[in-house]
Symmetry: C2
């Protein structure tokens, strides 16, 4: 069979550090388990800005479109905070989401049993927690027009952004949520702010109508975004699948992953539409960011990046066994007591990025 095409984009900060550990796993899978991948690696974000003057070159977008899957690190670099919007490191991930129409970001908030104590929440509140947040990622206030900063005749400046959602945009992401719910706890909670925003009111109406038409077997509830933030703290286990827009999803999924105490452990997948050839564009990335504060120290947790790679193997390359092998290895390493700084707790052994990566490889 043909080799699968993989595009690897380490990005900024700790991105390249954690990606290095994935490279070792890929190599091992090729040798030991017949994984056949053709890997291209490119700069994005601040790294690309420094070398090429732009955060995302068109060549990289082309490679991403041709690839069977994209493995992304993270972008963001405080040194580029004051340049124009389309020149920011962040424009790389936003541009890829748009160019490949990656509209559904799947963000699991799961608690790893040996890490329960790393959470700031009480064990009984989060033990067994398993939420899937489906966040819309190519619409909403992130991309709506008009946008910008204008200066009025009297010198006052005015910053504007536009939140827009249309029926088809809402339906396609809600479908992903309902389909996922059927494979899990069969419950979807749709989150918006319909009491003050018409875009949220439309969201609620469209999700309700789709539910009635196509998914009456799934249990659907609606929640305001402010209440959802509270409920995630009060009783996170009430949720199964949450579906929401781009901005609320950004905030609520970060909140949910921090509840688990395992932010450095959590992968995510961003999916596009199924194309005519049956394939689906997909990008895999850790939930954590580029963490400039700890970059270069070799102490970042590589497990979220490694688990993102496992998701890639499962969903894009259909290599369920390899995915399981990695996930089991990660489990074993945690059980053996190794911890990077972010998930450290008493009695455990604190290790570097490299040692953690090597330990996972060893377990395989």
């Amino acid at each position: 069979s043909q080799a699968s095409k993989l595009l690897v984009l380490p990005g900024d900060g700790i991105g390249p550090e954690v990606m290095r550990e994935v490279a070792k796993l890929t190599q091992w899978l090729s040798t030991a388990r017949g994984l056949r991948v053709e890997i291209a690696e490119e700069l994005v974000g601040g790294a690309s800005l420094a070398r090429h003057g732009v955060p995302l070159r068109p060549e990289v977008v082309t490679l991403a479109k041709e690839a069977d899957a994209v493995l992304f690190g993270s972008v963001g670099d405080p040194n580029w905070g004051h340049v124009a919007f389309d020149k920011r490191p962040e424009a790389a991930i936003l541009g890829l989401r748009q160019a490949l129409s990656l509209f559904a970001n799947l963000r699991p908030a799961q608690v790893f049993p040996p890490l329960v104590s790393a959470s700031t929440l009480k064990p009984e509140v989060i033990e067994g927690l398993d939420i899937m947040i489906v966040r819309e990622t190519v619409g909403g206030v992130y991309f709506g027009e008009p946008r910008g900063i204008e200066t009025l005749p009297d010198g006052t400046r005015r910053g504007v952004n536009t939140e827009v959602y249309t029926t088809p945009e809402i339906e396609r992401v809600a479908r992903v949520a309902f389909d996922l719910a059927r494979l899990r706890g069969n419950r979807v909670c749709s989150v918006e702010k319909c009491n003050v925003m018409e875009s949220g009111l439309l969201w609620k109406q469209v999700v309700s109508a789709l539910h009635e038409r196509e998914y009456p077997d799934v249990q659907l509830s609606h929640m305001l975004a402010d209440n959802c933030a509270m409920q995630l703290v009060r009783n996170p286990k009430q949720f199964d699948v949450i579906v929401t827009g781009n901005l609320f999803g950004d905030i609520l999924s970060d909140l949910a992953s921090m509840l688990t105490g395992s932010l450095g452990m959590l992968p995510s997948a961003t999916l596009g539409a199924v194309q005519e050839n049956g394939k689906r564009h997909a990008l895999y990335e850790p939930i954590h960011g580029s963490a400039p504060d700890i970059a270069g120290q070799g102490i970042a947790n590589p497990l979220a990046q490694i688990l993102s790679f496992a998701m890639l193997l499962r969903y894009s390359l259909k290599r369920e066994d390899d995915a399981r092998l990695i996930e089991q290895a990660v489990s074993n390493v945690l059980a053996s007591g190794l911890r990077t700084a972010d998930i450290m707790s008493e009695g455990m052994a604190r290790v570097s990025t490299e040692t953690m990566g090597a330990a996972v490889l060893q377990e395989m």
Copy 2:
């Protein structure tokens, strides 16, 4: 001296139930401590819709403008979820904020020592927590135009809202935050999403410039809204004053108050500009909502409403002693072990709204 004018607006759900307990305190303060207030009480929200067909009558707005302070309960009633935006119960509070230019909502997230165990967070994470969130309340996506739902020729529907912030709107609320910080821990964290929204970028720039010009003695930091949600869970005690826009403030302040385990305990004040006569419009309300799920059962916690009244006495009526008296009474009642359902924990005595209110009065 002249009697102060108070407008009391109980609203919907548990609003009238908890307001009843405040009325008893007012009466006692009048008899025992010479408080001179002229009280007008009016319907707002769903209650006003049911009687008058609108959530907020112009007469009520006039009374609010003439009053020395407004004591608000809460609005929101699921029975009115499907009517037009300006006919919703919520339009009452949004309309009052606008009509009186109540632009700065002060929301403390404080932990009451005897309630530490009611939080879902570990005691060491929240003990001593004392954050003040200053939320902008008359701008942003709540009020920006254009807004609405339109149907395109092909039948697609499109929901639109507009996030707008101008230099003066940002400056006046940032000033409130800096002034408050000087009376507290002297630190302000300004929160936006400047990496994807120009309105957030302007927000950050204006806050920074004001800081340099007028508040160089206050420590200022900036944080993205998604990161702020995470940091509030990871280490909430890192914050002193947080200043942010309407939508982020709505979500983050609800999140912060839930961390404390004392949502039913937390008051808020919403302030307008200082007027020519030296007065300042102000509205006081609990952070919690109308809680339709428990309305009518007589089990709601009246303490947030009572403490909102204490804030009113302190800030609008300049009756510091009366405010302290109430706060001390609340403290004593908690210490004595009385708890409403929301703050119940083992070994405590579960009481009704009325018993809790009576106990506070008793302590005074």
